[in-house]
Amino acid sequence: MKHLVILGAGTAGTMMANHLSHELKKADWKISIIDEKEEHHYQPGYLFLPFDIYTPDDIIKSIEEFIPKHASLVKGKIDKVEPKENKVKMADGSELNYDILIVATGAKIAPEETEGMKGSEWHKSVFDFYTFEGSLALRNKLRNWEGGKLVVHITEMPIKCPVAPLEFAFLADSFFRHKHMRDKVEITYVTPLSGAFTKPKATEALEHLLEEKHIKIESDFAIEHVDNEKKEIVDYGGRAIPFDILVTVPTNKGDEVMERSGMGDDLNYVPANKATLQSKEYANVFVLGDASNIPASKAGSVAHFEAEILTENILRYIKGEPLKEEFDGHANCFIETGNGKALLIDFNYTHEPVEGSFPFPGIGPLKLLKESRMNHLGKLAFRWIYWNVLLKGTHIPFVSATMSEAGKKYN
């Protein structure tokens, strides 16, 4: 009996366990999935919690509920992986030997990377919304806030869901408008990039929206420290931006397990082939989702597309066939723009987001790179899809793992 071990039961790991439990013969393969947590969080929900759009119940379920029967869930902390020995060492001293390892340990925030960020104002006037605790603390703060300077800030790239901070700024505009206090709030969007986004056409559309919503943008800002006393963020050039509430996206890093295992780069991301998802160092190790260093967005949609391709590649690997170099960096993201509307972007390694229709060329019903109510409904429907379709590894009809160029307006 052979053993396939998945590290991490988040979005990527859970999808993979479900895919493989259908594909691998029970008599030949045992599947184990390791995680120390009890709860599975719908992470896109962290964006809505601060504005009382979602409640904690909407975004938390148990990990166990989504693990297929044929896979065994190992609850516990991983000490480290010994990839040369094909072995996972647990913190309690037990060991798991594997034939194939899938690393799906994700990415998380590391506010300690920036001086003063996790200081005396942490979760008092300095917040993150990339953790449940941060998002909840921010909700409680916003409920009674009387206004002032709201600064939405990205520390450095790459981050999970690179559009989330923009969505936060748009939703904040909408939130304060509905509370009839928009005139009391000054919103500033601070980014280390030279514009609102990394790709030119989307940047243009998003900057137009920022302007329309009276959100000021401060670009090329590389933060040096947070001054907790003066309540300002300061960059290496000495530029200071004052805040009453700072909503920051701290540096994102891969899990420390990868650092302890000597498998990560300087941000603990695991080097992998961007088309096959195989580890660059170990042939029987594959990397899925946020944990890898491939130049794709760190997002659930990416993990979903990757999982379809990785499933096939693992079957090929087992049969000794060459791997398919098929993953194209496909990402598909809704961008909430407030007032019940959203944008949708669909792109990959080589094609930036452009206008068009999705998923049916020329028809839609979703519009690319344009605000619409339908897109917003799509985003809300996505929570149901996430729990009921995506995690189970079911293919989403009409949406292929690789990006389609049909119905898109490339020049």
Binding site: E156, M157, P158, S194, T198, Y236, D266
Partner: protein, 102 residues
């Protein structure tokens, strides 16, 4: 696009970055630095040489990596190439603007 820099016709993109590193020379660097109101000191050159080496080795550049390079810390990098140091320095070095991954 083409642009005359230091008396030579050079291929550049819309943002003024050289598209062919082979066309780069020190006179071009001096002129591009002057456009950014920088006069290149030996310290600038150490950083520019480092960036060019990394580019030749196909290492993706980021502010974080440069800060940990041992060549220059981020504070000094900002003093040498004010405002947006990575963008300015790569332009002067004749190498592509670093693509930030998303």
């Amino acid at each position: 696009m083409e642009k005359v820099i230091a008396g030579k016709t050079i291929a550049v993109n819309e943002e003024g970055y050289l598209t062919d590193f082979k066309q780069w020379d020190k006179a071009i660097a001096d002129e591009l630095a002057a456009e950014a109101e920088i006069s290149l000191s030996p310290r600038h050159w150490e950083v520019l040489n480092y960036l060019q080496t990394e580019f030749k080795n196909e290492v993706p550049l980021s502010i974080r990596k440069i800060g940990k390079s041992g060549v220059v810390d981020i504070k000094e990098f900002y003093q040498l190439f004010p405002k947006a140091p990575l963008k300015t320095a790569t332009k002067i070095a004749g190498i592509p603007k670093p693509a930030s991954c998303i």
